[in-house]
């Protein structure tokens, strides 16, 4: 089959590899019909996630059709259409039983690496380094899905791929970020970043009762989408002297009640701290660049919540812990417990509350993945979200502007 393989920093290749096989009784094999490139895949592309190996198959946002099931999988049949969570959970351990699916104890065969780096191991992930299991990912024609009896969500008849594809990661991730804010009546939610996860966090903040949503980014088309689709007030961080001052002014000196860092470890910025991080990260003295996180902590209202869906992989410097402590902030974070949110959010989509396809700007055949990664990383061609079609049916589709100047993908 054809598969998108990591070959090193900035080196993505589509290679011909063997088809996956059932390896364990609870496995299934899925023929992938759609696979997205995630913002977190860019951390791999840029070489910032340790324990990647040349030849690793990427992709953790995918869906498709079941073509084979292991002997222990009783609830799926060949031909079922499924969307698969990016984290792999056994469904039976202490963590799965408490719906902390991304912390599953039994899905990572390489716990020893994660334990050395983090004390304990999170769940296995598709296509996201050997520290989290080294599972072959779904940017391929076929993928092996472990614990297939508890992980995939069956897609109701008649729903097109693009309506449900993002239930495997970014919609639940944005939702959990907003839920972690514990939004109360009258709350203002500020979101750093206007990428796809941020867009879903904005949608979710409204669903959970936010009074006001403010989005911060410097990429025009992303700010536009946050404005049009997300109905958010926006701050272009390149156009203001200080994001902090601007937020203070907008909130009458209080600061936002909830601050969401939907940027993570590769924050861009031109401030002194951002340049410091870039230098240290380049020299491998710091693994992550936490500019957005620092700003979120500094901006947050006293007693407020900082919620972190943006990925961090290692160590960060100069985090204003004193501010977080003395302002009595709550910090919430973690890989998304996707399984918890798939069904309720599917209902939201079915009800017409949210149209997830709004973030899609590019639909490409799998073989164009190397170009797609570059375009997405460099935010060229107004790229916000790429969906790869392994069946070759994707075509380079430039964005369509709607009447309001918003970016809308065609369904």
């Amino acid at each position: 089959m054809r598969a998108v393989c990591w070959n090193g920093k900035n080196d993505i290749r589509v290679e011909t590899v063997p088809d996956p096989e059932i390896l364990n009784p609870r496995d299934a094999i899925v023929r992938v019909t759609s696979a997205a490139i995630c913002g977190s895949d860019l951390h791999l592309y840029d070489g910032y996630i340790p324990t990647m190996q040349k030849g690793d198959i990427l992709g953790h946002e995918f869906m498709g059709e079941v073509v084979e099931v292991g002997p222990a999988v009783k609830n799926l049949s060949v031909g079922d259409r499924v969307v698969v969570p990016f984290n792999i959970a056994c469904g039976q351990c202490f963590f799965c039983q408490r719906e902390l699916w991304s912390l599953c104890d039994n899905s990572n065969p390489n716990t020893w690496i994660a334990e050395k780096m983090m004390g304990h191991s999170p769940a296995g992930l598709y296509g996201y380094s050997h520290m989290t299991g080294g599972y072959a990912g779904g940017q391929a024609e076929y993928v092996r899905v472990p614990f297939a009896d508890v992980n995939p969500l069956k897609v109701p008849d008649g729903m097109p791929d693009e309506q449900v594809l993002f239930l495997g990661d970014i919609f639940p991730t944005g939702y959990m970020a907003a839920e972690n804010c514990d939004i109360r009546q009258g709350d203002t939610v500020a979101v750093w970043g206007c990428g796809p996860v941020a867009q879903f966090a904005i949608q979710s903040a409204w669903m959970l009762g936010a009074e006001r949503v403010i989005a911060i980014d410097s990429v025009p088309e992303r700010l536009l989408l946050a404005q049009t689709w997300g109905r958010a007030e926006v701050i272009d961080s390149d156009q203001v002297d200080s994001v902090l001052d601007t937020l203070n002014e907008m909130t009458g000196g209080m600061g936002p009640d909830c601050c969401i860092d939907a940027v993570g470890m590769e924050a861009h910025g031109h401030s002194v701290d951002a340049l410091y991080d870039k230098a240290k990260q380049t020299l491998r003295m710091e693994t992550d660049r936490p500019h957005a996180l620092r700003e979120a902590i500094m901006a947050c209202r006293k007693g407020g919540t900082v919620s972190i869906p943006g990925v961090y992989g290692g160590f960060i410097d100069k985090v204003p812990m004193g501010a977080a402590f003395n302002k009595g902030l709550t910090l919430k974070m973690g890989q998304t417990h996707v399984h918890r949110y798939m069904r309720p959010l599917l209902e939201r989509i079915q009800n017409g509350d949210v149209d997830p396809t709004r973030v899609i700007t590019h639909r490409l055949p799998l073989d164009e993945a190397p170009q797609a990664y570059r375009t997405f990383r460099d935010k060229e061609d107004n790229c916000i979200k790429v969906v790869l079609r392994p069946d070759g049916n994707g075509h380079h589709l430039h964005r369509h502007h709607d009447g309001n100047g918003g970016v809308q993908g065609a369904v």
């Binding site: 364990n24 009784p25 190996q53 030849g55 351990c93 202490f94 039994n106 020893w112 072959a136 391929a140």
Partner: protein, 259 residues
């Protein structure tokens, strides 16, 4: 000097070992010049290369390389040629401490005990074991894999068992590798299942297994990995794996998990 493996009473007299080690220490002092250090490094590297070559090929034709490499490696690492006397005394003196590890498993102690007590199940999660056959009357025959492809076999007996709670076993006299183990199953706090605590002791006997000990000590990490697999099997019904999954072109020297 503490002899941590108390399986064989003859190794408990530590007085003579103290004397021997003092003279070892003097000899090491003499060698601690730069040339000696370089020489030792060369011996380690060349010895390890020969052994690694043999381990990779695993054929009779490379056995010679292994036999030539191992003493070099030993000498490089310790500063002594592995004469039979030096080996037995050193192994006795520096015998590894019992390895201890524990894990919490979300299942009742009785269920875990029952699975473990059927010793023939152990190779399902103990990676270095090839098979265990129940011989009846509390006795069993164990076959383990060594990195050079040789099999190590021994007979063992159950020493003590308290149903649903505790089990201990040890190898019978004459084993190539003296070993013993205990496993304790105790209820975890808050109804979280069972805490499983394991201790394992290994003491190779004779020259051949002394080399085995140097190359392949049983580490705490290995026991922890075995216990993780036990937990995976008991809770999830299977052990997660990626062995056999597809991948693109790997590097020639692609790393594999040692566990």
């Amino acid at each position: 000097m503490r002899d941590d493996v108390n399986l064989n009473p003859s190794h408990q007299g530590t007085g003579s070992l103290e004397v021997h080690r003092t003279s070892d220490f003097d000899a090491e002092q003499e060698e601690s010049n730069l040339a000696g250090k370089v020489g030792q490094a060369v011996m380690i590297v060349s010895g390890a290369a020969l052994v690694a070559f043999a381990a990779r090929r695993r054929s009779w034709s490379t056995l010679g390389a292994a036999l030539a490499g191992a003493p070099l490696l030993y000498r490089g690492a310790t500063g002594h040629w592995p004469t039979p006397q030096a080996v037995t005394q050193r192994v006795g003196a520096s015998a590894p401490k019992p390895v201890e590890a524990s894990v919490t498993i979300g299942k009742p102690a009785e269920e875990l005990y029952t699975f473990w007590r059927n010793l023939e199940n152990l190779p399902q999660f103990m990676k270095n074991l090839e098979s265990v056959v129940n011989l009846g009357n509390g006795r069993s025959h164990w076959v383990a894999k060594s990195p050079l492809g040789f099999k190590v076999e021994w007979d063992a007996e159950i020493v003590e068992e308290r149903e649903g709670h505790f089990l201990s076993w040890r190898s019978l006299p004459g084993a190539q590798v003296h070993n013993a183990g205990t496993v304790l199953f105790e209820p975890a706090l808050g109804g979280r299942g069972t805490v499983v605590r394991v201790t394992l002791e290994f003491k190779p006997a004779g020259l051949g297994s002394a080399i085995g000990k140097i190359l392949r000590p049983t580490t705490e990490q290995e026991v922890r990995e075995d216990l993780r697999r036990f937990k995976n099997l008991m809770e999830a019904g299977e052990i997660p794996t990626t062995d056999g999954q597809p991948a693109g072109q790997r590097h020639l020297l692609s790393l594999r998990s040692p566990f």
